[in-house]
């Protein structure tokens, strides 16, 4: 019924659209960027290069490209065009972060609490960030299911979600889950776990429980599908908490584990081997440089800060060489912000890695293609290649320089941040305010 009432409106819109020029149709999500220094990340730089975007997809990369009529042309002479920056660990655009009341809450899903009005989305855009992994917090050992979002400021929640990304489940270890930096209020009981031993034991307990749960369902399915199913066959009780963990064991979910010290990372990798679940990345991983062999053997990458350290005991051996050294050893490394402020200077954070041994190209990869690989979206984004989604950022200087500034951020061919436009609107507002 509803659909029927909407139909005439839809036809009317279609007529209006067709009545306009065909170029108008083309223009949405289409543009031509001219004369930029293109840093495709997966290939050599192109000076004086053009990128043609049609319907949100990169159609052509080269020199002296011509735009189909009606397409917006962005002159980018002297500027640097890079793939949109991807932040693999944030908590932005959420109306809740931590369901920390219990040690395990895998039944919660961050996709249920997306807040598309969070100004942090705009903040991220102003730093060239086009995609973020926004996660459950680290208050408990097993948090919730995370979500990957595009920073489409002004769009409703469902338009932000990147469904192609790995579905991931947040785990956390160490000081946050053992609540070592929290003053215990009188009368409030201490939550289990209070040690790293307890944290590991809880994960093992819950995964064993999930195994049993899966076995019960298997038994039920077997009986149900047998030639002579029992007359009173009842399905096992549905348990959303165990259902999520069962998905992890089935390989439908990937673990992302907040961990700082070497021991807890080694032990988490052991758990993953013991139970056969996949780990998309270790978060923060401050002591990863101590266990590069183990990371390489497990094929697990890390998502880290470049040098924000010493805020907790477990971050006291977090050295600024961590990202560079792990990269040099062959570990897949991305740099994250974990902050609605740092997100806008993630390129500066990556740039610091140059001081600690990486080339600017390697440093840039940590916030683009490496991040895309960790999120399972490297076929769609993370580099400037024909056929990929046109998530792009334009900088006035080399993006790994301290003197650089983001001037333009584009998602799927649409401009979502334009510094010149911001300044223009500000000046207009000031003029109006003055009158």
């Amino acid at each position: 019924m509803k659909n029927l009432t909407r139909l005439p409106v839809f036809i009317l819109l279609l007529v209006i659209m067709l009545a306009g020029s065909a170029n108008w149709l083309l223009a949405a999500g289409s543009l031509l960027i001219k004369n930029a220094t293109i840093l495709p990340v997966t290939g050599p730089p192109i000076t004086g290069g053009d990128v043609l975007v049609i319907d949100g997809i990169i159609k052509q990369i080269g020199r002296n490209l011509t735009a189909p009529p009606g397409i917006r042309i962005i002159e980018a002479h002297g500027k640097y065009l890079i793939p949109g920056i991807i932040d693999t660990h944030t908590h932005l655009a959420l109306s809740g972060t931590n369901e920390g009341t219990e040690a395990i809450t895998p039944e919660v899903n961050m996709a249920d609490v997306i807040n598309p009005d969070d100004p942090a989305i705009f903040t991220a855009l102003s730093g060239g960030v086009t995609m973020v992994h926004t996660m459950h917090g680290s208050a408990n050992v097993i948090g919730g299911v995370n979500v990957v979002l595009k920073m489409k400021w002004g769009q409703p929640s469902e338009k932000l979600v990147v469904r192609e990304a790995y579905p991931t489940l947040k785990f956390a270890l160490g000081e946050n889950v053992k609540q070592s930096n929290r003053t215990l209020l009188p009368g409030r009981p201490q939550r289990y776990p209070a040690t790293r031993m307890g944290a590991n034991a809880i994960i093992r307990r819950e995964l064993l429980r999930a195994r049993d749960y899966m076995a019960e369902w298997d038994r039920y399915e077997k009986l149900k599908n047998s030639k002579n199913p029992p007359a009173n066959l009842l399905p096992p009780k549905k348990d959303l908490r165990l259902e999520t963990l069962a998905d992890l064991l089935r390989g439908k979910l990937y673990a992302r584990c907040h961990a700082y010290v070497a021991t807890e990372m080694v032990e988490f990798l052991n758990l993953a081997r013991e139970f056969g679940f996949k780990v998309a990345a270790l978060e923060h991983a401050w002591e990863a440089y101590k266990i590069t062999d183990e990371l390489l053997a497990a094929g697990v990458g890390i998502s880290v800060f470049i040098d924000s350290w010493a805020y907790k005991m477990e971050a006291a051996e977090g050295i600024a060489y961590n990202a560079s050294y792990c990269t040099q050893r062959g570990v897949l490394v991305s740099i994250n912000s974990d902050s609605s402020e740092r997100v806008r200077r993630l390129f500066n954070e990556a740039g610091k890695a140059v001081k600690y041994g990486l080339t600017p190209d390697e440093a840039l990869k940590m916030i683009t293609i490496n991040a895309a690989r960790q999120l399972g979206v490297d076929r769609l984004v993370g580099s400037i290649e024909v056929g990929k989604q046109a998530d792009l950022a334009l900088f006035n200087e080399h993006p790994m320089s301290a003197y650089t500034r983001c001037d333009l951020t584009i998602i799927e061919g649409e401009v979502y941040f334009d510094r010149q436009q911001v300044i223009k609107e500000r000046e207009e507002a000031a003029r109006k305010g003055g009158n």
Binding site: I319, R342, A402, Y403
Partner: protein, 449 residues
């Protein structure tokens, strides 16, 4: 104890002889000069040659020499004659800059911010003019060598919390004790006025200290305290002159505020909102005190007034959100640009201990948003030196100044630049630090294979 000394005295001539023999045997003069790490006292004559020189004041020298003697710069220039016997440091491909000065930090007071046993910057209570940063400064903090290896040679270390946080200090980042680090033991009293976003909260929101409700009330309270200090001084003076008058009871707060009300000790006001800045300017003028502003998030809105009042500004960390959404996403980045263009003297600060090394990047960030690059460099070298009254000693490369020299392989403020050597008062300082030490330790595992 006594007997040990007499015992020592007995063998004194003998030990002298042994030491004398040993030193002559071990240390031929040429060799002694090569080992600068521990024994270089800064007295030897040093020539840094073939170096690009950015003196910060005056013209750059594309390739020249810096002569260092007795901890000071004896001369610098393109065609200097190198005196015989000088230790020569070949610096081809490197650039010499004056060492940077962090305008506001918690270096040496905060080691691991989440572990209270390692935090010494925040006293309990609201009125603490008696506490001095220098007296708690951990001179062997792991953050100091890291800051130093990024080219920072001196820093203001400030206490925090309450209305009067305590007395800040200005130190060089070298010394075997806190006292050896002192440049100015008491630099300024630190007053923290309420921020734009309300009361300050502690680590992860667990702090219990609340700032005063409004700047009006905070300034009124300060006025009262200053008045009390002046009255206290008068009563003490009268009592000293007249034996019949009893001496007033000792008043610690007034006692410690006396240098401030006399105009001897400046006050660093942490102040953010434009209206609060205007109020504080009035307060400073009425009270006739010396003032420096810190933070000044909305300073650009009243830049003309700050300039007219002649109050220098220590720019707070740029790693922060705009104070209010309406100010625009880039307001914190534009603030130093606009203040500088209005003629206000600015200096950058890290506002940190663990991120003190990021000082050059704050300056570069402002440059990305329009601050002239030389002005950005000055705002981490000569401007802070001027603001803290030590510009005759440091802040630029000039003959007669202390030899605080940084040799970098690129632009001093650039992220990828590596600092090759740092001299503080002519001594080459050790650039190894916790980062390099831990890396080396765990690299051994790779090498063992």
């Amino acid at each position: 104890m006594f007997s040990r000394i007499t015992c020592f005295k007995k063998y004194l001539p003998l030990s002298f002889l042994i030491i004398l023999l040993l030193t002559t045997w071990l240390l031929s003069p040429a060799e002694a000069r090569t080992d600068v790490k521990n024994s270089d006292t800064g007295s030897a004559l040093l020539a840094i040659v073939n170096v690009r020189i950015v003196p910060v004041v005056g013209q750059d020298i594309p390739s020249g020499t810096i002569l260092v003697e007795n901890g000071k710069i004896r001369a610098l220039g393109a065609n200097l004659e190198i005196p015989a016997g000088a230790r020569i440091i070949e610096a081809r491909g490197l650039t010499a800059y004056p060492g940077m000065i962090d305008g506001y930090s918690s270096l040496g007071l905060v080691e691991i911010s989440g572990v209270s046993a390692t935090v010494d910057n925040r006293e309990t209570g609201r009125i603490n003019p008696q506490v001095k940063a220098i007296e708690a400064l951990k001179y062997d903090s792991m953050h100091i060598p890291i800051a130093r290896s990024n080219g920072i040679v001196a820093a203001v270390v400030a206490p925090s919390g309450g209305l009067i946080a305590g007395q800040s200090t200005l130190v060089k980042l070298d010394g075997w004790t806190n006292r050896e680090m002192v440049i100015k033991e008491s630099l300024a009293l630190v007053v923290e006025l309420p921020g734009i976003r309300g009361g300050r909260r502690g680590f992860m929101g667990m702090g219990t200290q609340q700032a005063a409700v409004s700047t009006d009330r905070a300034l009124a309270e300060l006025k009262e305290l200053f008045h009390r200090a002046r009255m206290y001084e008068i009563r003490r003076e009268q009592a000293a002159k007249n034996l019949l008058l009893p001496r007033p009871d000792f008043d610690e707060t007034s006692h410690c505020l006396l240098p401030v009300v006399k105009g001897e000790l400046p006050v660093i006001f942490s102040v953010q909102a434009d209206k609060d800045i205007l109020q504080t300017i009035r307060f400073v003028q009425e009270e006739k005190i010396k003032a420096i502003f810190y933070g000044v998030h909305q300073g650009y809105k009243v830049a003309g007034e700050i300039k007219k009042a002649g109050i220098p500004c220590l720019i707070g960390s740029l790693y922060d959100q705009p104070p209010v959404w309406e100010d625009g996403y880039d307001s914190l980045f534009m603030n130093p640009v606009l203040l500088n263009q209005a003629g206000v003297k600015i200096a950058f600060s890290s506002s940190s201990s663990s991120a003190a090394k990021d000082l050059p990047y704050h300056a570069a960030k402002a440059a990305a948003f329009g601050l002239d690059r030389l002005e950005a460099l000055k705002a981490v070298t000569i401007y802070p030196a001027e603001i803290f009254g030590v510009d005759k000693l440091m802040g630029s490369l000039e003959a007669g100044k202390l030899a605080n020299i940084v040799l970098a392989d690129g632009d001093l403020l650039e992220l990828g630049t590596r600092i090759e050597k740092v001299f503080i008062e002519g001594r080459e300082v050790d650039l190894s630090n916790r980062y390099t030490e831990l890396l080396e330790k765990f690299r051994k595992r790779e090498r063992e294979k």
